[in-house]
């Protein structure tokens, strides 16, 4: 095993469990407990990727969620995932990862020429360059996407299972570091239901990265004790490897739990790969810690330049030495810990501190350990390409703006930088908390809470361990109390010995002695390759707002969302504008905090569960008989039933002919059905529908149109009086739910005095509609034929009788214009009824038909379909349905709007029929526009459009319905329908919209 940079002892890795993995095809070794990043570093691999725009070699920057550089393509095949942060990928046996954004190889990358031409690729380059000519964007885009892009998405279907879980708790603690552990302990002891969440594989946070003691024992032992106690509490849920991805209104938080991502075994199909939690928490404690800021100096992106805190984590937690000869570049005391730890681990360490004569216990400790401290100095350049080889150092002026004197060169293989720490305020900010700028930290910290939450520890700006522990304790107690718990046995804050730290010297751009952008780059946003020169350029170009800066430079818009870059960029901008950082403002932090795959968001709502289909009782029969299906609302409806060798047109022609020449049957179960009862039911219908309902006789059916208050048609259907105070309303298939809500709205909000009850019974009934000259023969053979006679069951009436031995409601209503019986039976007997009618109809050649034939048949009769002939801008009069609008009954919904100037116009679009003039077989296209006068090119005045168009075998030619301005007065006029595909417009003649049996005698027969 060749883990050359693995320390001989220490760390929280499991040395008894070695692990083999592959990076870019090379086989490497690590240990259980490693992350991919720590294992790569243990093997001396620093070059892990290429940057987004310039394709510069990049290494590992951090040891946590903020990683912006070391993104890899993880796994293969349908499980592959791009942009995985190697610092967050737990190492497992057989792991395969590839570097991204390079071609043909990581070491030799063709697109790195972008770096040479980088002065032609400034901020806003894409906006400036590829805007002209506009039609070329498609070409540009392909090339740009190829050269940029971060990794590849999987091509196959995701084989894994993802779950959703809904949960509530009294106290949710985000972050399992010192503050979070104390908060969870305090709230847990109070008896609150607690969920403790941390992104890492184990709780402990910063305590796992250091070497300090808590309560007189090693910090890790203290963590283990607390965890033992938390695990023993029944109401405490501990979720490691879980990110709080979003903090929404009313303490609704989403968590992404990576359940099996860290295991070498593929999920067994029972355990989800990830679990997406949706938690409603009474109280929230945010203990999300802090993220270290990079310093902005020349070539600060070279592999081997890392955050100082991360270096410490690698040394102490993973027993990995990221370099043998280190330069620590800092503006504050915290990085001295890194120097001390590196030295203890056997590396050499030199500190370059921008502060003149820093004082602080850690500085003294470093000095005492013999570490060389170069104060008042700055790194003006990093040497090396694929790995740091050394740095140049010069004297820094007191204001930090210039460098003076000669430069000193130091050879090194590691630069550990610290520009101070930013409290991780993302979740606080998402919860609508207000931030303020803390001068002593030179960072934004929580100011005013909005939600029921409190921040504790480093995320609250408290960087000392003792403060973290104390604040965590207090926040946990307060949260439990506010969630309604009496706190009796409050834990005490543990004792910690801690060094006093000196102050920070904010330095946002480290001068190089040259103009920005010369001799190298000062990176701010590593992932999106945004430099200090870019920010400066956008300032010169007049960008004032931080939101504009962000979009123009794309700063903070990568997958890391600017976790390390945000404050640095704002501060540089503020500096250029000559204002303070808070005056320049801050961009809004938005969810999600963590990269969240679509699999987790979708959960199990995929495939057949994505949008569950509603099936009628006869569905299986339709399938067996080869039906093609159409989605109508959520229903699967038979569209047509092709026989072997038949095209759709063949099948539809056969089905429509059968309905008029013999007999045909359709599954009409999907129509919405609402049972309306109550003493005021008739009066209610009178107000809801446009026609009169009070005097409808028992057992009679009536067609009704429903309008919105603006007078526009909104639904239609036949309603039947079942009893004095009981009606059965049918609605369109797709409109059923909306109509029920509409009825309930009026009953509950406007007319609460009416005694009416509405119940959806759509699912309770199965409906077979039998149409055609032999309809009575077929249905009659299954019951007492005489009950179906023209006088016994006249058109537009209903009777109850047994059909094929099944109690049924038989309606004489017709949507085809033929003699028709609509037989309704309880759903569970629907298939039996269908089969019985099918059998009985055999000798008459009964033909099942689908929605397409149904549409053709009704169009032959000029019957409208709501949503096809109407579009929310159509009145009953526009549809030529004045006959259904009562002038006598008084007010109803929508009536007043008929008198509005626009509604009363006589040149409104009106329903007409169309015949094609030249070719009777040419079928127009639904939505095709109509013009009276053809011009060589658009625009032309459009006078209407086609709403339905079919070939009708019963009429023997194509027919169409259309709405045309003042159409009823234009019968016989010729219009033109320009074709989408070009060519000569189709000549059409305006006709009556009823094409077949204009007198309507057949249905009444």
């Amino acid at each position: 095993m060749t883990q050359k940079f693995r320390l001989a002892e220490g760390g929280r890795i499991n040395r008894d469990h070695p692990v083999q993995f592959q990076f870019d095809g090379a086989t490497l070794h690590g240990y259980e407990g490693d992350t991919l990043a720590s294992a790569l570093l243990a093997n001396g691999v620093h070059l892990v990727g290429r940057s987004f725009k310039y394709h510069r070699p990049r290494g590992i920057l951090s040891a946590g969620a903020e990683e912006s550089n070391a993104l890899v393509q993880l796994r293969e095949g349908p499980r592959t995932e791009p942009n995985m942060r190697s610092t967050m990928v737990a190492l497992f046996d057989g792991l395969k990862a590839e570097s991204q954004n390079r071609w043909p190889s990581l070491s030799f990358d063709v697109w790195s020429v972008n770096n040479l031409f980088s002065r032609f690729l400034p901020a806003g380059f894409y906006y400036k360059t590829f805007m002209w000519p506009a039609s070329f964007w498609m070409t540009y885009e392909k090339v740009i996407r190829n050269a940029a892009g971060l990794g590849k998405g999987p091509l196959g279907r995701d084989p894994d299972r993802y779950e959703h879980r809904n949960q509530w708790c009294d106290v949710l603690v985000a972050g399992g570091g010192p503050a979070g552990l104390m908060a969870a302990l305090a709230a847990g002891r109070a008896g609150a239901r607690v969920i403790l969440v941390d992104e890492q594989s184990e709780m402990g946070g910063s305590l796992l990265s250091g070497t300090g003691e808590v309560d007189g024992k090693p910090a890790a032992d203290w963590v283990a004790e607390i965890m033992d106690e938390l695990r023993s509490m029944e109401e405490v849920t501990i979720l490691p490897r879980t990110s709080v991805s979003g903090y929404y209104d009313y303490n609704f938080l989403t968590l992404l739990e990576r359940v099996t991502d860290h295991l070498d075994d593929e999920p067994d199909g029972k355990t989800p790969r990830q679990r997406f939690w949706q938690v409603r928490a009474k109280q929230v404690v945010l203990a999300t810690g802090a993220i270290e800021r990079p310093l902005t100096f020349l070539n600060n992106d070279r592999p081997g330049v890392m955050l100082a805190g991360a270096v410490r984590t690698y040394v102490n937690r993973y027993a990995v030495l990221p370099g043998l000869k280190a330069v620590i570049f800092t503006n504050n005391d915290s990085a001295y810990d890194t120097a001390l730890d590196l030295r203890r681990a056997g590396a050499s360490a030199t500190v370059v501190d921008v502060r003149k004569a820093p004082r602080g216990a850690l500085v003294e400790a470093a000095r005492a350990a013999g570490i060389d401290i170069m104060d008042g100095k700055a790194i003006v350049k990093v040497n090396g390409g694929k790995r740091v080889t050394g740095v140049l150092i010069r004297e820094l002026s007191e204001d930090g703006k210039t460098v003076t004197g000669g430069s000193q060169s130091i050879g090194c293989d590691l630069v550990a930088m610290s520009g101070g720490w930013n409290p991780t305020v993302h979740l606080f900010s998402q919860s609508r908390g207000k931030l303020r700028f803390d001068e002593s930290l030179a960072a934004f910290v929580p100011d005013k809470s909005f939600a029921d939450e409190r921040s504790a520890g480093a995320c609250n700006g408290s960087m000392k361990l003792l403060d973290c522990l104390t604040e965590g304790l207090k926040a946990g107690l307060a949260a439990a109390r506010d969630a309604g718990f009496n706190v009796r046995k409050a834990p005490t804050a543990p004792k910690v010995d801690e060094a006093e730290e000196g102050g920070i010297m904010p330095i946002w751009v480290v001068p190089s002695g040259k103009r920005l952008g010369q001799g190298g780059k000062h990176f701010i946003d590593f992932q999106n390759d945004v430099t200090a020169a870019d920010v400066s350029l956008s300032h010169r170009e007049g960008y004032v707002s931080v939101e504009h800066l962000k979009r123009y430079t794309t700063m903070g818009m990568g997958t890391d969302q600017g976790k390390t870059s945000n404050v640095n960029a704002l501060a540089i901008m503020a500096d250029l504008q000559g204002v303070s950082v808070p005056e320049a403002g801050i961009t809004t932090f938005r969810p999600p905090w963590a990269l969240t795959g679509f699999g987790a968001i979708a959960g199990r709502n995929v495939g057949e569960f994505m949008d569950p289909a509603r099936l009628t009782a006869m569905h299986d029969w339709h399938v067996e008989h080869g039906a093609k299906f159409e989605d109508v609302g959520q229903w699967k409806r038979p569209w047509y039933y092709p026989k072997p060798g038949e095209s759709m047109a063949d099948a539809v022609n056969r089905e429509t002919l059968a309905a008029r020449s013999a007999v045909a049957m359709v599954d009409a179960s999907t129509l919405g059905k609402i049972d309306i009862q109550g003493p005021d039911a008739a009066e209610f219908l009178n107000r809801i529908y446009t026609n009169a309902w009070l005097k409808l006789p028992l057992g009679s059916c009536r067609y009704g149109l429903m309008l919105h208050e603006d007078g526009m048609v909104f639904d239609d259907g036949v309603t039947t009086r079942l009893a004095e105070n009981r009606f059965l309303m049918t609605t369109t298939t797709g409109g059923a739910a909306n109509v029920l809500t509409w009825l309930e709205e009026w009953l509950q909000t406007e007319w609460p005095e009416m005694k009416v009850y509405c119940t959806s019974v759509t699912e309770q009934w199965a409906t077979v509609s039998v149409s055609g000259p032999y309809a009575r023969h077929v249905v009659g053979s299954l019951t007492d034929y005489d009950k179906l006679g023209p006088k016994d069951l006249p058109f537009m009436t209903m009777a109850e009788m047994d059909i094929a031995g099944i109690p049924a409601r038989v309606y004489r209503i017709s949507f085809t214009g033929e003699l028709a019986f609509e037989v309704n039976v309880p759903r569970r007997q629907g298939l039996a009824l269908w089969r019985a009618i099918w059998e009985a109809g055999q000798k008459y050649g009964i033909t099942p038909y689908g929605t397409e034939a149904m549409h053709v048949l009704r169009a032959e009769k000029g019957f409208i379909i709501v949503g096809q002939e109407t579009d929310g801008t159509v009145t009953p009069m526009d549809m030529g349905m004045d006959w259904i609008v009562s002038k006598k009954k008084g007010d109803f919904i929508g009536r007043r709007s008929f008198a509005r100037e626009d509604t009363a116009r006589d040149d409104r679009k009106q329903l007409v029929g169309l015949y094609t003039e030249d070719d009777p077989h040419h079928v127009l296209v639904e939505g095709q526009q109509l013009v009276a006068e053809v011009k060589p090119t658009p625009p032309m005045k459009m006078v209407g459009h086609v709403t339905s168009a079919y070939f009708s075998s019963n009429v023997g030619r194509s027919i169409a319905l259309a709405v045309v301005e003042g159409g009823r007065e234009r019968m016989g006029e010729t219009l033109y329908a320009p074709r989408l595909e070009g060519g000569r417009p189709v000549k059409v003649t305006i006709t009556d919209p009823v094409f077949f049996d204009k007198e309507g005698v057949r249905a009444r027969g």
Binding site: Y250, D891, R895, R896
Partner: protein
């Protein structure tokens, strides 16, 4: 996601509800007695309040009852929930 205290069912997730816009817009008693302008005002015009806003909600995946609530449109805080027919309570932001 809001947590809405349905006056009939208690607190439930927002996804169970549907918002139907501004509350307390009564249908004119005698539509014929008012002008087209007044009718159009009833039909189309709604206030777009910054601050306390009274609106109608329906618990459509629950009890299917309609009710009103007062919401601060700036903070999205629900300040009061009350039944249909009840007078809007006086609320402070």
């Amino acid at each position: 996601m809001f947590l809405i205290d349905c006056p009939y069912c208690g607190p439930r997730q927002q996804t169970e509800f549907h918002c139907h816009g501004e509350a307390h817009i009564a249908r004119p008693k005698d539509p014929d007695a008012i002008s087209d302008v007044e009718w159009a005002d009833y039909l189309f015009n709604r206030s777009n309040t910054k601050g306390v806003f009274y609106e109608r909600w329906v618990h459509n995946h629950g009890c299917r009852r309609w009710f009103n609530l007062a919401r601060d449109t700036v903070s999205d805080r629900i300040l009061a929930v009350y039944r249909m027919g009840e007078k809007p309570p006086r609320v402070k932001k």
